[in-house]
Homo-oligomer: 373 residues x 2
Amino acid sequence: MPLRSSLRTTAKSLPEHARGNNRSLVLQTLYSDGAMSRADLARATGLTRVTISDLVAELLGDALVVEQGTRDESRPGKPATLVDIDRTGFRILGIDLSAHDAFRGALLDLDGRLHDRVTAPLDGASGELAVAKVLDLARELIARAAVPILGVGIGSPGVVDLAGIVLTAPNLGWHDLPLQDRLAADLGLPVLVANDANVAALAEHSFGDALSDTMLVKIGNGVGAGLLVGGTLLSGARFSAGEIGHVVVGTDGGEPCACGKRGCLETWLATPRLEARIAADPGDRDGILARAGERLGIALAPVVGALDLAEVVLSGPAHLLDGPLARAALDTLRSRTMAEFHGDLSVRGSALGEDIVMRGAAAMVLSGRLGVS
Amino acid sequence: MPLRSSLRTTAKSLPEHARGNNRSLVLQTLYSDGAMSRADLARATGLTRVTISDLVAELLGDALVVEQGTRDESRPGKPATLVDIDRTGFRILGIDLSAHDAFRGALLDLDGRLHDRVTAPLDGASGELAVAKVLDLARELIARAAVPILGVGIGSPGVVDLAGIVLTAPNLGWHDLPLQDRLAADLGLPVLVANDANVAALAEHSFGDALSDTMLVKIGNGVGAGLLVGGTLLSGARFSAGEIGHVVVGTDGGEPCACGKRGCLETWLATPRLEARIAADPGDRDGILARAGERLGIALAPVVGALDLAEVVLSGPAHLLDGPLARAALDTLRSRTMAEFHGDLSVRGSALGEDIVMRGAAAMVLSGRLGVS
DNA sequence: ACAGTTTGTTCGTGCGCTTTACTAACCCGC
DNA sequence: GCGGGTTAGTAAAGCGCACGAACAAACTGT
């Protein structure tokens, strides 16, 4: 009596998968806890020293980790020889395609710090021309790198599927563009492409203070979001999770939006509109920002309630977001969701600034290359 | 240069884990596709016939699967001997604690069909008295079972953590009650406890038509929801994902709610309020229901947009939900979210009726005992 | 009768991790 | 200065798991 049920979610599992998994585990442990001895690794991972030695030998062979000599410490017993990820031996190329006027790229080290940056003005390029600009930007940065590049991460506006195909990015004139595969073929490097707000959420999790259940709202010319649930990104049924810019807020109208509706979140929060309103009435700056924050809170309350989020992080121009706007958003969220559970809810600005997308793109490469790909 | 980053999400992985995983894979394949030969299983799972034979032998030893003789089919080659999960050899005990006036339990077969039902009037019991009632209900049904019971699944109102501790269930007077462990100890059976709306979402996924990205909204005395993302339940930072009953809807006030706020989703949608409104103005029945649906749409639009949900399933009294209410909710969702992505969005009533929580509780046991626990 | 096909099992191999046992290198105390 | 205690790392043997090759069993078709 077969059912059409789809409880089958597991995939076949072989011993060699376990090996890859444990390999990632070693790398993750080194990455987050820093240099340590093989014995430390064994204790941290729960694997035996023997297995760890074997795995480390393999990683040394791949030049992903390096030995750093013995630990200078006075203890009984044989001194430990420290091993660590080769943090200076690789760079990651992070690219941000989300600004409206330019593509931005940088070489980052494995800890997510930027070292070389390049800005490529967009000059209205779109379609194939825009693809060529991405390629040029990548090539220029690759040429600058003195060490091998672990991979290329790209945060793109629009809807991007899990294979790095840009399903739609209106501003760049892209539709069903297999950006990830094309760049990988042209550059000969591993490439990962994802939505800009989604990688920003990754950045906030990896390099910022974000918890494992977080929503990152990216406010700029448009409004987008990335949702982290249990430490992993939500992608959605059609890969458009986080596309909240055109959700209507409230039940009292609002300004018309380019999408044809009235009162979309973007009409309340997009930075050009905020700045225009402030320019029109500089004296009411705080009121304008507070009202925008209130709208954000109204829109997010059902999401925060439904997902039981612990925090909302705002990314965008700090001078607009960090003051009355964030405060009003938090107050509104508190007054519109259940009291018992939002005691520790927070709404705060990101500390990662303008580089958040490039850093998130790098974090994506890190987890793709070091994690359980 | 260690970071505080918590990219470390992997756990150590041993060959025996792979074994358990493949064991589950075999069970899941049999469960969803029905009886088949060992060779069929090998083809379906990607494992070799040798490995499948070994796994099946193990499962036969545990009496979880049975041989059903040879397939009567005229083909070249040795006739296949069919194996299947022992669908008649087990029952699952499903219990629904979510009704306001009674606990309900049933014995279900592995395909989720109900066979014996028991209703235990609550008579205002709460606290320890309510726990005793659950225990009595379980014992009575266990006594009725003619075959072994695979496990006990319970859908409870309130907030339940992943260990089956009821953190808070005000109507039952429960706080930090380790219901799962207590029942497991008293009954000597595996017990799983989760939130009622969450297990209802599981039911809709396992036994209904729900896709892998779905929100199930359970409307009764209160309003709750269960969120399925990629086929797995969202639990939330504080295990209260889906608790949307007290999210304020709209920006135009509303009726006062027991929680102290005005315009909570419950004030718009809870069935007692709907029925009271209809009783007060029977002629406007459709308008009342449509306005309630509109409110639901307003509340869910940000969630549907943010999570990119493909469908919303409503569970509750069909005579209230299935007509104007669902239609208005869908229309409102469409008019308040992005056009490109809601083309195939649907809002529909569940076909599982009143038994949805018991069946969901059974589905939880199934995936706990057959799946990758 | 015999070739061809499909099922299910037996046997030997390789991989991955573990336990046990070992060496290396340090501290301390006598 | 020399053995006892401690910790790091490696070597050898064993066990669990899945695989490929080979084989026996049982059917169909000519």
